[in-house]
């Protein structure tokens, strides 16, 4: 178990004029170097909880401990300079060039200007923006995706151990979002920050999180676990309901295909058989006069998941998905029984399908 970097202890928040607390007696430990996703229905207090970590919202009571230091009552501005902050609307300073935006925290920390300039270029490189092209641009000259990259660069500039991200990719189009998510995951491999990431998108939570905290009313932690465990073993109807009724399909997107999953292609004499072009599988010859269907085999090195295999099976009408090596040579196949076995394995026990049925019927009557 990795070390805890952020610890929230008995955190409470009651807004003035409200009798019901927004966050009630929250205890949560966030491990060093992990991405923890906060997700829950709107109004559950997930954003309030996140904003208490850098005290944009002051807790009514309780303690916030970061790297062993109680930060509950230190100067909030000092605290915030040590905690990267990225928000959905980005909030770049429109009157300042990209360089000034990225260097904003460094200026507050009174770095010398030549050091700031070097650091700004480094940060722009890190988030994939060419410094010579973008450092002198103004925010309005950038696309939404580029603006959010600058936002991430600004948050990372002072090399804070902790980053708070409030639906950072929520306002860009789905394609850009997926791209930014991938890019950010790659970046995280490099920087290994401890990240609290608020989202309302379960797909994003499953995809980005090392851990997911599913929060119910008043920020009560309904389940706090890894994405596969959350999908496979929801701790309550609430969680199962929240993940949705297509949890089985979602689970497939989280399960990598490895060599153990692979089976040989079906025997050639009966039914469909693989068609090769110079030793490389390119399609299936289907039985009973359905003709030939072309396929794009999955490359094992591209880290395909079971959902990719299922997709290929469904779209090619073939009995199995084909997996090849980098040279295009056949490694093996993934058939329906492998997919089903994986889902069954993840589900763990038979109770779960009942839970899902309840969740589904609950949905229907709502």
């Amino acid at each position: 178990m990795t070390e805890t970097l952020i610890r929230l202890e008995q955190l409470n928040k009651t807004y003035p004029g409200h009798s019901v607390p927004a966050v009630e007696r929250l205890d949560l430990s966030i491990p060093d170097g992990e991405i923890v996703m906060f997700i829950g229905p709107s109004g559950c207090g997930k954003t309030t909880t996140m904003k208490m970590i850098n005290r944009l919202i002051e807790p009514s009571s309780g303690r916030i401990v970061i790297a062993g230091e109680d930060v509950t009552s230190i100067d909030p501005n000092e605290l915030r300079r040590r905690v990267g902050y990225v928000i959905q609307q980005v909030g770049l300073f429109p009157h300042v060039r990209v360089s000034g935006n990225v260097g904003a925290v460094l200026r507050l920390l009174k770095w010398p200007s030549d050091k700031i300039a070097r650091r700004v270029d480094e940060m722009l490189d890190l988030v994939g923006l060419d410094p010579s092209q973008y450092r002198d641009s103004y925010p309005k000259q950038l696309s939404g995706g580029q603006q959010q990259r600058v936002g991430v660069a600004r948050a990372l500039a002072a090399d804070p151990p902790v980053m708070l991200m409030d639906e950072p990719f929520g306002s860009v189009d789905p394609i850009t979002r997926e791209h930014l998510q991938d890019e950010f995951l790659r970046l995280q491999q490099e920087i290994r920050k401890t990240i609290v990431f608020v989202t309302h998108d379960i797909t994003e939570a499953l995809r980005m999180g090392d851990r997911i905290a599913i929060l119910g009313e008043r920020s009560r932690v309904e389940q706090y676990d890894t994405p596969p465990n959350v999908v496979a073993r929801p701790s309550s109807d609430f969680v199962a309901n929240f993940i949705g009724t297509n949890a089985g399909l979602r689970a497939l997107t989280l399960m990598p295909i490895d060599r153990q999953t692979l089976v040989p292609p079906p025997a050639e004499r009966e039914g469909p058989r693989l068609v090769y072009d110079e030793d490389r599988p390119v399609g299936w010859h289907l039985s009973d006069g359905l003709g030939t269907t072309r396929i794009q085999p999955l490359r094992l090195s591209a880290q395909p998941v079971l959902a990719d295999a299922l997709n290929q099976i469904v779209s090619s009408q073939a009995p199995a998905a084909v997996v090849v090596d980098d040279d295009g040579q056949l490694l093996g196949c993934v058939d329906m029984s492998a997919v089903q076995a994986a889902v069954r394995g993840a589900a763990g026990n038979g109770d779960r399908s009942d839970v899902q049925m309840e969740a589904a019927s609950g949905d229907g009557s709502a």
Partner: protein, 215 residues
Amino acid sequence: MSYEEYLGYFQEGLLRQFGDHLAVVLLSTLLGSIVGVSAGILVRHQPGPREIVLKVAGTMLTIPSLALYAVLIGILGLGWPPVLLALTAYSLLPIIQNTIVGLNSVSAPVLEAARGIGMGDKVRLVRVELPLAWPVILVGIRTAAIILVSTAALGAVVRGPGLGNAIYAGLNSIGSSVALYQVLTGVGGVVVVGLLLNAIFFALARLTIPRGIRD
């Protein structure tokens, strides 16, 4: 006396009046900006004081300038001081109003980001809020200056500076050969001061509004 002869004869005095007119407007706009922007900053988040300040500044604009000048003679005497003070008072409403509107329309995410990266209140005001509100504040200041150009002309009744003197001299000598010249030159001069101010503010906007928020 022809108009050319009149201009030749009174050239020096007219040029001085023109310069004085521009100077008194600019100076009182500057004073009004210092007072008005400060007041706007102080009351922007408090609805109560904000209403009071705006009411007071609005009421001042309703006092006829002749009456205000007359009252101020008793306190400040004749010449520049009563004119400067009256014009400063008249400049306040547009400046305060635009300061409040400008500051309060800075986008919430930008402010949240500023707080989130650890900017204190003062730093945020100076580095983020004022620069972003500046285009709106500047429009308020320009409006004030333009209003003052014509009000300043009335300053001549308290022996104030500016082109009002030419106009008054003309009105006082109606029937004489130069009366019309004096009035027309005074009025024309006031118009030119107005145009010049517009040019000055245009240049000021180009110079002081950051490129990132210019449209």
